[in-house]
Assembly symmetry: C2
Homo-oligomer: 469 residues x 2
């Protein structure tokens, strides 16, 4: 697409995903179709999380006293916290923060709940709305002031080893989640200056948007014992000693939906991964006065057959011309459209059209209809996945020449380069190029002999730099 930003803005409203005309900047409404996509996306996520985590829900407000306790953390958020200062006509005794994230809401309770090693590990998550008073340009689902769909998991463990393993587990879970949605990703360890405030280190998932800019779509933080010490989260270990817990947290947001829309969309509209599409199959009857009933009855019959194998199916029987219906469901990204007219009925066939490549296939109505459709959907999902991964792989380019970096990024690439790993050196690279280091993508063998792109020292890492959202 020529202008991704404009395309994205338009598709959200045209496909009934969100409406940004709400009278507060950076806060939008989830419209019915968008809400369904969000719902199925959350179902998928919860299914993965519920295997090993418990869902809970914490209050939305955080007392100032708690938010302020962890100094590094609050510094990272103080410029973007919304404050409630009044209840009714009166000033409150203590101002209350709209949670920007919930560490400071949750960890005082962990301090109460955790007493002994048998209480560990704790792995809780919640899906909640959080708030950031963004001063930058806002953009629906991408940079917003109310994150309506914030998944945050918070764990506490008896040992450092378990916390390290938990980080790996969440990375694995996110991979599975993004793979199911066909969203390609680059995983990197954020540089120190871009680490979550209060964390030892941050692992991040970025995807590449059609305009070549990267979008952070998920993070996993190893919190070490920082918060444990601030909020006094201790346990009596088997040996009778009182110890601080080790913690991790991990987040996802509305951006997942943004990335999914961007990864698979085209000029005609959305292509939704079947797992989260409100309809897997949309049946479009071609109606004439004569034989109308028969065609509609057969559509109902097909719908029932497909629903029996677990598919979500709708029939578009609106009284408008079929061309408009095709247009609408291409816009909304139903994986498979089925066309059925009186002549098809006579010949006992239906025409199936895949949304991704718009290819048509004739399907015999008696010959394993459901199996054929399931098969088409599987091919469709696989193609979405491989197309989007191919796009990502085509858009990462290595260079050993620092001067080449800005040009490559302007051409739509994420640039990989060899780096010594020194903080000052990294900040200089950012300053000289004007772009952001995403983080460390790969560790290099100590014996590689490769040199840092900036200072010529021995390179320890392959790092990524990009224009970011």
């Amino acid at each position: 697409m020529e202008n991704f930003s404009e395309w994205f803005h338009n598709i959200l409203e045209e496909a009934n995903i969100t409406d940004s005309r709400y009278p507060i900047k950076g806060m939008a409404i989830w419209m019915p179709y968008g809400f369904q996509i969000r719902k199925y996306t959350l179902e998928l996520l919860k299914e993965l999380l519920d295997k090993d985590n418990d869902e809970v829900l914490f209050p939305m407000l955080v007392p100032e006293k708690e938010l302020a306790k962890e100094g590094i953390h609050v510094k990272g958020f103080e410029d973007e916290v919304y404050w409630v200062t009044k209840g009714g006509q009166k000033d409150l005794n203590e101002q209350l923060a709209l949670r920007p994230t919930s560490e400071t809401a949750i960890y005082p309770m962990y301090s109460l709940w955790i007493r002994s090693h048998i209480d560990l590990p704790i792995k809780y998550y919640q899906i909640a709305n959080t708030f950031r008073y963004e001063t930058k340009h806002t953009r629906p689902l991408i940079r917003v002031r109310e994150i309506t769909t914030f998944k945050e998991a918070h764990t506490a463990h008896a040992t450092k080893k378990e916390a390290d393993e938990q980080v790996e587990d969440y990375i694995k879970l996110y991979k599975e989640f993004f793979n199911d949605l066909g969203i390609p990703y680059l995983i990197s360890k954020r540089p120190s200056w871009d680490t979550f405030p209060g964390a030892d280190y941050t692992m991040a998932f970025d995807t590449i948007m059609p305009d070549g800019k990267t979008l952070q779509i998920g993070t996993v933080h190893n919190l070490g014992q920082t918060f444990a010490k601030t909020f006094d989260i201790t346990f009596e270990d088997k040996d009778g000693e009182h110890k601080y817990v080790y913690q991790t947290c991990a987040g996802l947001s509305d951006r997942v939906v943004a990335a999914m829309i961007a990864s698979h969309g085209d000029e005609k509209g959305l292509s939704l991964p079947s797992m989260v599409s409100p309809n897997h199959v949309t049946i479009i009857p071609i109606l004439f006065k004569k034989g109308k009933e028969d065609v509609l009855n057969k559509c109902e019959n097909i719908k029932e057959q497909l629903e029996a194998v677990g598919l979500r199916v709708n029939i578009d029987d609106r009284d408008i011309r079929p061309g408009k219906k095709f247009y609408d469901w291409e816009l909304k990204g139903t994986p498979i459209k089925l066309e059925l007219g009186p002549r098809d009925l006579e010949n006992n066939i239906t025409i199936a059209m895949r949304r991704d490549n718009l290819e048509k296939v004739e399907i015999d109505l008696d010959d394993l209809l459901a199996d054929n459709i399931l098969n088409l959907i599987a091919k469709y999902d696989k193609n979405l996945n491989s197309k989007s991964w191919a796009f990502l792989e085509d858009h990462v380019k290595f260079t050993a020449d620092l001067n080449e970096v800005p040009k490559l990024i302007e051409d739509g690439y994420v640039v990989s380069f060899n780096w010594c790993g020194d903080d000052d050196c990294g900040k200089q690279i950012e300053e000289e190029t004007g772009y952001d280091i995403l983080g460390i993508y790969e560790e290099l063998d100590g014996e590689s002999g490769l040199k840092c792109i900036k200072d010529g020292e021995d390179a320890k890492y392959v790092a990524l730099i990009a224009k970011t959202y």
Copy 2:
């Protein structure tokens, strides 16, 4: 139970429903077990709503300008609105309300979305958190400052008739919902002074708690054209004229869970309606060193058999004595417990115990196990339902003597009485007795000859008066 208030407070923490120790008064945490109950309750509700309504999600903040537009409405809420006045370190240009309810967030958008009669009706609902700066004594799930689970439906129609019918439809839906949960209710039309601010009239569902006090658990409001006029929600009708829409809204909250807990609980703990119980069946293996494996294998096998028919089943294989397990699952209200020890295994039986009446039945492990369990669960649900309805019916008493009202209410009754319907008369009744008129329960035939309990005028209604939460 002797002291309901204390019982309720304790059961919430003991059964892992909510934790009220969060450092803001009136805001509590949904704990894992409680969250599951909430989740299944919402699934049931959504299933009913989704037949005829679309789910959406609006921003949590409402600009002061919009909230203030509808004068009567804002008067009803102004003392209990939380205000956000600061973003980061700066004062906001306009203060933003934490939604106490979302009419003023939603209706400005209805004004944009509705253009023509073909856009109507609109039936949207959302499940969201709302806020009330309560100055009264707070109580978890019953009177809170953050309502974490607020279901609000908002409709717009072309005609008054359709709006009136919508009110009836929502009442029907609520009846079905509460029936599924075995929560008994009294439906009444609230008196004018207790009508939702801005509504023409309010229909309310109240249940009777074990202490005889009533709890409002659902409301349906006929909004007429009040908000349509304030927010300029008009449409071009078939005749080409521009007209204001007619509106309704309907709400439910966390109180549904409170009512469910209260309706079915006893000294031993919860009895959860199967529809919302995290486990339908809890299997308790009786383990000795010898034959442990065999017993556990059989438990797994039973679990699989029951899950195959759609039941939610857990095995409590904790290394503690069986008595403690029985105690725990009676507290948590699993409908059916299955006990299986080595001797049962030899005899090829299991002992099933219903939570409601604690009756034990021996069940042959080969003889239609799943059918037998489903049958037991059906009887269990039916019994919860009839017991709670019997309690309600036993606790409504009619009197024609105003002096008798306070005594009856103190004895735990909701009192029904004949009423002329006059506002001043009604307020005098409230003042003299010190209790609240719930509303009109029944219309009387004009020829009944019955007289008003207070002023002796012709009675038009049977009304209800009670001590309320």
